[in-house]
Amino acid sequence: MSETLTLNKIVSQKGISTAEAANRVSDLGWTPSYVQEAMTFPTDYKISKVPRDPMKQVLRSYFPMQEEKDNRVYGALDAALRGDMFRNVEPRWVEWMKLFLAIIPFPEISAARSMAMVGRLAPGEELRTGFTMQMVDEFRHSTIQMNLKKWYMENYIDPAGFDITEAAFGKCYATTIGRQFAEGFLTGDAITAANIYLTVVAETAFTNTLFVAMPSEAARNGDYALPTVFLSVQSDESRHIGNGHSMLMAMIHDPSNHQLLERDLKYAFWQNHAIVDAAIGTFIEYGTTNRDKNKESYAELWHRWIYEDYYRTYMLPLEKYGIKIHHDDVAAAWDRIVKKNYVHKTAQFFTVGWSFNFWRIEAQTEKDFEWFEHKYPGWYAEFGDFWKWHAKLSVPGEKNIAFNGDVGYVYPHRCWSCMVPCLIREDFCCDEVDGKMYTYCSEGCRWTHKVAFAAEYEGRATPAMGRFSGRREWEECYHGWDHADAMVDLGFVRSDGKTLVPQPHLRFEQKDMWTLDHIRGNTLGSPLRSFRALKAGTERDAAIAEYRKGFKINPCN
């Protein structure tokens, strides 16, 4: 056989190049002349430059590529079952997936919806193909995650919590924090929401901790399904990052956009930090049983993905366009993680509130203590006794840790912006907006509510900017309710009508399970109501000073 004769050469025929295909597809649009498209999702930005599509992909290569990725995912799920994954999986890890997977499908589908908002704003049609693929990608992510969750429900030892998932998503305070993340993608100024907050910050920076770092931890806990699904999800993100950057570049050359860009980069970074680091930091550090001292801690992962990858290589180069970068916020977020124990305080709070949620949280043990102390020197002195208390009080009949004065924990205020409680007590602050008093976890969150989400920004009218709304303090929804009645209303009770869905341990025998009777008799209250009732001046100032002093966990013997 001649060395030049190959099947490929026999059948090959001249086709059109990928670039030409992309060019032809981008010529499908036109400027309507009979009826104008309504600008239904307005923005305060000006977009005069046509954004370019860096990916140059067309749908006929996109769909087969995605189907192939799907085949790998579903094949891997089958293989995991055949390999008896659940016999070896760590329940400590899977329990946190009840929370994570309750949240994440809604942010994903919100991102799909938000493509409608940017699709019409960009002049030209080139990037519209990129937005189209992102829309279908996000539909993929939302339903593939619902499928993963169903798969856990069908195969994991304790399905309670997975079975109520979307109802729980609507009711639990922890999932509302995730909803702040998601609603930010699709409500308010279209560019603020769908471009800066979603693609430029959430997808470019924080999906790395969500969809890369977290799957690694899953694998360490015997869960091969989460990495399979989420690394496949993450493989779509590079396109989305390209969309975001391209749109950003179409706006950044116009100096009249700079003021808004600076506001939105700051807002988006701080909210992503406050929400994503709280949740994902907790899952990675406290949902694992793997205490290999050579692996990176969440703080180290954050430094790699957020500080080096996003801040230094993505954000800093924006300065050459005349954008002022919020360096102080990046430093403040880093300090909150490494010096002020943000993640540890979040995990502590989740644990104090175990009996208001819908998943199990077991106590950390000596082996965990050693790892934490190694990675975060001083950890044991601050948190060691707390986890001992949690182990001690995990037995039904003990006084619930949330209401147990012996522990020394003081229930926190809720932050009106990020909706995570005000856990770093020394940073607690408050302010009035439209004549009403609100509490915040940090100066960044106070600024977000009072300054960023307003009709005017630094003297400039911002008529498209969104507003905070709803019953943002969860505790207010059940102010004055008995704890047990609240859990019934939340639906966090198992099928026997009395055993709680959440448990403070991983013991799977009925005798070890907490029921409504174990939590009845305690009344829930709204910290914000109490705070607002204080007299302005000395009384309120004293309360603030007291809160900022923090608390000390009592020794647990």
Binding site: N88, T129, T143, K150, E166, D496
Partner: protein, 354 residues
């Protein structure tokens, strides 16, 4: 060595222990449409929350005028229960990619084989000009519908409504690209093929101005349901199918063209699914116990408005039927089929035929 309870590994597998809730292995927060929840329902229902169901703290960000993240006011149609709707095609991501990918493979196979056998060169010359000018113009109509539905999928009150519109948008955008790349590729084999002629006809040829006006009316509608309604219940039967099935697929074979009908046939199969979804939703709304009368009045108005535009668009297309050299079907026959189609649709949902 003794094993302490802490060291013993607890199996995390289903059935490893029996306790309250250990057998609760189905999503239990919605009423399935049938006896058992379908996989599509499990993937879809309630992912977009609703303050009237489980959304305890209400929507937490609003637009500056106070409109929440999702609002029932985004359509003039009313429903006593938007959550009742289920898409007939039951699509979730896996089925969507499987179907789209299969179509992409089929279309590429058709194009490759046709070109390999030298088919485009044997197309009748008059037919090549029809493809260049008119199929080239029509691809823009499909793109207009795709982008219009991409806009519409933001506004529905439930996940089921929005995902049905999203997949419809995905199908339309894929088909507009199918046509674009098909013409670009057969154009490589056809000397003098003008790749820009289609857009020129779309923008300037009087034959296509009625269609463009009809599409722009859908793109410019501010009611998302009107966009979905006008696409599948008005434009598609009166103009889209008329051109695709009533002209391209009828005429092509006689002009020596076996490839184009296969490419276009994919859109007809897409449409059957999207039509079924739309009829299901509109039927639910016209038969709503509280709002059926209101909705019928509204939909009859949309049908009349978009129907008049679509009738005008269809009438303007008539000269195309004279352009192929071999004539095997007439505009009148095609229009009669379109009339039957829209009458059947209107009868199904209880509306007046435009």
């Amino acid at each position: 060595m003794s094993v302490t309870p802490q060291q013993a590994h607890q199996s995390g597998a289903a059935g490893a222990a029996i306790f309250a809730g250990s057998d609760s292995r189905k999503y239990n927060y919605f009423e399935p449409k049938g006896r058992k929840a379908s996989h599509y329902e499990d993937m879809t229902v309630d992912v977009q929350p609703d303050p009237e169901r489980y959304l305890l703290q209400d929507w937490i960000i609003s637009f500056p005028d106070g409109t929440p993240t999702y609002s029932k006011t985004w359509t003039k149609a009313l429903s006593s229960n938007w959550h009742q709707f289920r898409a007939v095609d039951q699509e979730w991501e896996r089925t969507h990619y499987q179907r789209q990918s299969t179509i992409c493979g089929m279309v590429q196979g058709v194009i490759e084989n046709a070109r390999k056998s030298g088919a485009p060169k044997r197309f009748d010359k008059a037919w090549v000009k029809v493809l260049q000018d008119h199929l080239g113009a029509y691809k823009h109509a499909e793109f207009g519908l795709g982008t219009s539905l991409m806009q519409a999928q933001r506004y529905g009150y439930t996940q089921m409504v929005n995902n049905a519109i999203l997949t419809n948008s995905s199908y339309k955008l894929r088909f507009s690209q199918d046509l674009t790349l098909y013409l670009a590729e057969i154009g490589l084999d056809l000397e003098g093929f003008d790749h820009n002629a289609g857009k020129k006809h779309w923008l300037e040829d009087p034959i296509w101005q009625g269609t463009r006006k009809s599409i722009e009316a859908i793109m410019g509608a501010t009611d998302f349901l009107e966009q979905y309604f006008a696409t599948n219940l008005v434009f598609e039967p009166l103009v889209g199918e008329l051109f695709r099935s009533g002209f391209i697929m009828q005429m092509a074979a006689s002009q020596g063209d076996f490839a184009t009908p296969s490419v276009v046939a994919a859109a007809e199969a897409d449409y059957e699914r999207n039509l079924a979804n739309t009829v299901e939703l509109i039927h639910m709304l016209t038969h709503d116990k509280d709002h059926g009368v209101h909705n019928k009045g509204l939909f009859n108005g949309w049908m009349a408005h978009h129907g008049a535009l679509a009738h005008e668009a269809a009438a303007n297309l008539q000269p195309i039927w004279s352009q192929p050299r071999v004539k095997v079907s007439s505009f009148t026959e095609a229009q009669a089929l379109a009339k039957n189609r829209i009458e059947a649709i209107c009868a199904q949902i209880g509306l007046k035929t435009p």
